[in-house]
């Protein structure tokens, strides 16, 4: 997924490196797990039971405030695809069939959330069956049944939910799922093909193919239950009904979102969540990240109970770094997001030219512009270290400042045309483009920086046959599996249509078939190392992108906020264990 998308997609204005995994989680014992187990960060836990393990020193009481520079695009579950929005919804109120628990050692446990387990599969991952836990209710006291989940998944098919994840829809009804079924708004009383609910507590998904990642996709908000009788319709659901520890009390778009305790949540039905704080207030009124940082550094009055979501820009970093108390309140680490320059392999067809571009790129200059070590960690891979299946390799051993001489050697005897470098307007991206132009010029490569509209950038570079040769882009996993990273950005299937996220337009049958084979491997754990090997091979043989840096998150909280850690799943400060220090 993009870090944020449409309006605010990230770009180059984020964070840095440092101590990863400042977590405060106390995990469950992972007995009875299956699924990926090797050295992977992800473990399946099938016997998780509520209540969630107590957090040391956490006490009940107090209202925590989250300060962010902008509102979420959506909270409507099936239409939510931005990491922070998914995380907040899931942790506070919008429970899904499965969910993750992040432990302090960096391990991620996938467990049944509304469901009792991560799912029972038959027919080689084609049929998935879930049983619901007892005592799960909507905020109005209505019991949650399998039909409400079936209805939730079905409403994801409606065209109004076009912003949301599409994994389950595609697996149920094929790539063209929107034509196979148009959702329950247009077809009242129906549910999506492939879903059955034999009884109120059982839901069965019969997929068109083998998808062993189903339990991971089921943790996306596609599976949030929705009460059909109270559904205001697509695009109109501002305050979805909660099934978790908090419910939405009031919401003024763009300004303030208030969650209060949900009396109809039963902690014994939930192995993941707490309700230590009396409530959470999301304050979107300040759109300047530096003012938020200054407030949090100052730590005065109510701001002591505030959690910062935005990363400070280099302008306010010194405020933190010159203040001992503030430094202790920083939560930082690398995120799931990776920044690369996608080289359009269908336009820059000579692989040696692409390799020369990798050699010519000056990562150090770019990192300096985006804010240095607190903004990004120089990278040599597409897949970031926090994503399972990451393999540490450096295919070209380029120094951080680039190696123009090596690039020139590769370009000997070649006639080069000027290359169009398309970047998204805003932030420091024009300065980055200038730095890239300068670095490439040293290697004899001419690029023409072209600024594209901020809001339509991803549509334009996602159009098949677009004329951009290079485009700086960001990407992160949709769920902890390389299928949503390499499986998207290197897949030939993605290179066949508009709206593609394979911005290198890499279309190598051998790679695509290998990716397909890995995705349908019933033992995802054994597939993981092969992803790393495949990515290394792609880098060496096809050089379709220039890895620049892993996006680093660097945020600060007030002094009375406890239990916050950087989510390795969503790249934002996690609220899962948050409490007020009393």
């Amino acid at each position: 997924m993009r870090r944020t998308w449409s309006v605010a997609a990230i770009g180059l204005l984020t964070v840095a490196v440092g101590a990863a995994g400042c977590t405060k989680n106390t995990g469950n014992d992972d007995t009875g797990s299956k699924g990926p187990q090797n050295n992977s960060k992800l473990v399946y836990v099938d016997d998780a039971k509520g209540p969630a393990p107590e957090i040391k020193d956490a006490k009940k009481g107090g209202i925590l405030t989250v300060l962010n520079v902008q509102d979420f695009d959506h909270l409507e579950p099936q239409n939510t695809y931005v990491g922070a929005a998914i995380m907040v919804g899931n942790q506070l109120g919008l429970r899904t069939l499965t969910s993750y628990y992040e432990k302090d050692d960096g391990q991620i446990e996938l467990m049944g959330d509304l469901a009792t387990t991560t799912g029972q599969q038959t027919e080689n991952c084609k049929v998935w069956t879930y049983k619901l836990r007892d005592n799960i209710k909507f905020e109005d006291g209505t019991a949650v049944t399998a039909k409400d989940i079936a209805y939730g998944v079905s409403r994801a098919f409606d065209e109004s939910q076009a912003d949301g994840p599409t994994y389950i829809q595609r697996w149920l009804a094929g790539e063209d799922f929107g034509k196979a079924y148009t959702g329950p708004f247009k077809n009242p009383g129906t549910i999506a093909p492939g879903i059955t609910t034999p009884d109120d507590k059982t839901i069965v998904f019969t997929l068109q193919g083998s998808h062993c990642d189903f339990p991971l996709a089921a943790a996306l908000p596609t599976t949030v239950p929705v009460l059909a009788a109270k559904d205001p319709g697509g695009g109109k659901m501002e305050s979805p009904m909660s099934t978790g520890p908090y419910k939405i009390k009031s919401y003024t778009r763009g300004q303030r979102l208030e969650w209060v305790r949900n009396d109809n949540w039963d902690p014994t039905s939930d192995p993941l969540r707490h309700n230590y704080a009396d409530g959470f207030v999301f304050d979107f009124s300040q759109s300047d990240p530096d003012i938020i940082t200054k407030r949090l550094v100052a730590d005065q009055g109510a701001d002591q109970l505030a959690i910062g979501f935005p990363n400070p820009t280099s302008a306010s970093l010194p405020d933190i770094q010159s203040n001992e108390s503030a430094k202790k309140r920083v939560i930082e680490g690398d995120t799931i997001f990776s920044q690369i320059v996608s080289i359009n392999t269908q336009r820059v067809t000579d692989v040696d030219i692409r390799r020369a571009m990798i050699y010519a790129y000056n990562k150090q200059a770019v990192l300096q512009i985006i804010g240095g070590a607190t903004a990004g960690t120089p990278s040599t891979t597409l897949t970031p270290p926090v994503t399972p299946g990451y393999k540490k390799f450096d295919a070209y051993n380029v120094p951080l400042t680039g190696d123009p001489d090596k690039a020139k050697t590769l370009l000997q005897g070649k006639t080069l045309r000027p290359f169009k470098y398309c970047y998204r307007a805003g932030g420091v991206r024009p300065q980055v483009a200038a730095a890239v132009k300068e670095a490439f010029a040293k290697a004899g490569i001419e690029i023409v920086p072209t600024e594209l509209d901020r809001t339509t950038f991803y549509s334009l570079i996602g159009k098949k046959g677009n004329d951009c040769d290079l485009a700086p882009t960001g990407w992160g996993q949709d769920y902890p599996s390389p299928t949503t990273v390499l499986g998207v950005l290197a897949s030939g299937h993605e290179a066949s249509h508009d709206g593609s996220n394979n911005n290198s337009w890499l279309d190598v049958p051998e790679v695509t078939s290998k990716l397909d084979e890995l995705a349908s491997n019933p033992d995802p754990a054994s597939a993981l190392p092969q992803y790393g090997d495949l990515e290394e091979k792609i880098m060496k043989d096809y050089a379709p992108w220039i890895p620049i840096y892993y996006v680093h998150s660097y945020t600060i909280n007030g002094s009375k906020v406890g239990g916050i850690y950087l989510s390795q799943l969503w790249g934002s400060p996690s609220l899962q264990n948050a409490y007020v220090i009393q």
Partner: protein, 335 residues
């Protein structure tokens, strides 16, 4: 007098129509694709067509223009292509319908309805303060010309006029919020909900705007006042033994303040359209903030609305100033 007022109002209406046409043409001519910008991640040509239909940009210019204006005066029904329970949902956009913000999934009047009270609260409060402080200082300086008080007031106003509002606003935050914690970070609350919290949140924006604005008013009032004080009729008034207070306030100030009122009216009109920098720094979501957001999101209906409303304020304030002027100085209506 009535005829004068009617003439001015008619002229204002004509100006508004012209603004309406020009803004509409301007935004119609923008080479952009708001549909793509508002389409979503899994954007298909069908969705773009639907959004285009929703935004109305698939219809001829004149139809769109007529629809837009009909909505303002009569309201209109908007077919967003939404279906619920198997039936199309038609959203009614109430008078004054300024369109639909696809980006935030709400009517533009809702966006404006939230933003306008914020801007009005900031601007009206600050305007009263800057007028009183500015004119007060100006008059004081003029009456104490050359003395320490005059020099001090002029010095302060020089600093005020040369200081950008963003700098002064940050300085205020730094002193009163970040360093000392004397005031909480401003958090706008409606006056109806809690007048005390409302005023508490607005103190800093008011001071910021007042300091920067009052400076100009002080200098302007001072020079106007000095000019008036040197008039023959003032000398006569003094000569016939009128008390200084009557001479200064009743005779001199009344004449001196006329141009200040013009300036005040125009400033107020312009500011009510949004004080983007002040609003942004203090995290207040007023008209200025809404315009900036809408512009960066390419949210055309909201941009249109904020531009239109800002122009309406300027035009209305112009009319009010003209009429007030006529009351203060009866010679005006003869021209």
């Amino acid at each position: 007098m009535l005829r004068f007022i009617i003439k001015r109002v008619l002229a204002a209406l004509l100006t508004l129509v012209a603004i309406d046409v020009i803004t509409f043409v301007m935004f119609f001519a923008i080479p952009s694709s708001p549909a793509e910008a508002n389409c979503g991640k899994n954007c298909t040509p069908e969705t773009i067509a639907r959004v285009n239909h929703y935004l109305g940009v698939d219809r001829p210019f004149m139809v769109q223009f007529a629809e837009f204006n009909r909505g303002i005066f009569l309201g209109r029904d908007v077919d967003g292509g939404r279906v619920l329970n198997g039936k199309p949902v038609i959203d009614h956009c109430h008078i004054p319908c300024l369109g639909y913000s696809f980006k935030t999934q709400e009517q533009v009047t809702d966006v404006i309805g939230r933003a306008l009270p914020v801007t009005t609260s900031i601007v009206i409060g600050a305007a009263v303060l800057w007028l009183v402080t500015g004119v007060g200082l100006g008059v004081y300086s003029a009456l104490h010309r050359g003395k320490f008080g005059d020099k001090f007031a002029i010095g302060v106003s020089l600093v005020g006029t040369s200081m950008p509002v963003y700098f002064f606003a940050l300085l205020l935050l730094s002193i009163f919020v970040f360093s000392t914690g004397l005031l909480p970070y401003p958090q706008y609350t409606s006056i109806a909900t809690n007048p005390a919290k409302w005023a508490l949140a607005l103190i800093l924006p008011w001071i910021a705007l007042t300091f920067v604005q009052a400076a100009g008013y002080a200098r302007y009032s001072r020079s106007q006042m000095l000019e008036t004080l040197s008039e023959d009729y003032i000398r006569t008034a003094r000569a016939i033994g009128l008390p200084a207070r009557t001479v200064h306030l009743r005779h001199a100030l009344r004449a001196a303040i006329t141009p200040v009122i013009t300036l005040f009216g125009l400033d107020l009109g312009a500011f009510l359209g949004g004080v983007a920098i002040t609003e942004t720094i203090f995290g207040m979501h007023g008209m200025g903030w809404a315009s900036v957001q809408a512009a960066s999101d390419l949210n055309l209906p909201v941009i249109m609305a904020t531009v239109l409303i800002a122009s309406v304020f300027v035009v209305i304030m112009n009319v009010i100033v003209d009429v007030l002027y006529a009351f203060i100085d009866p010679r005006v209506k003869l021209s």
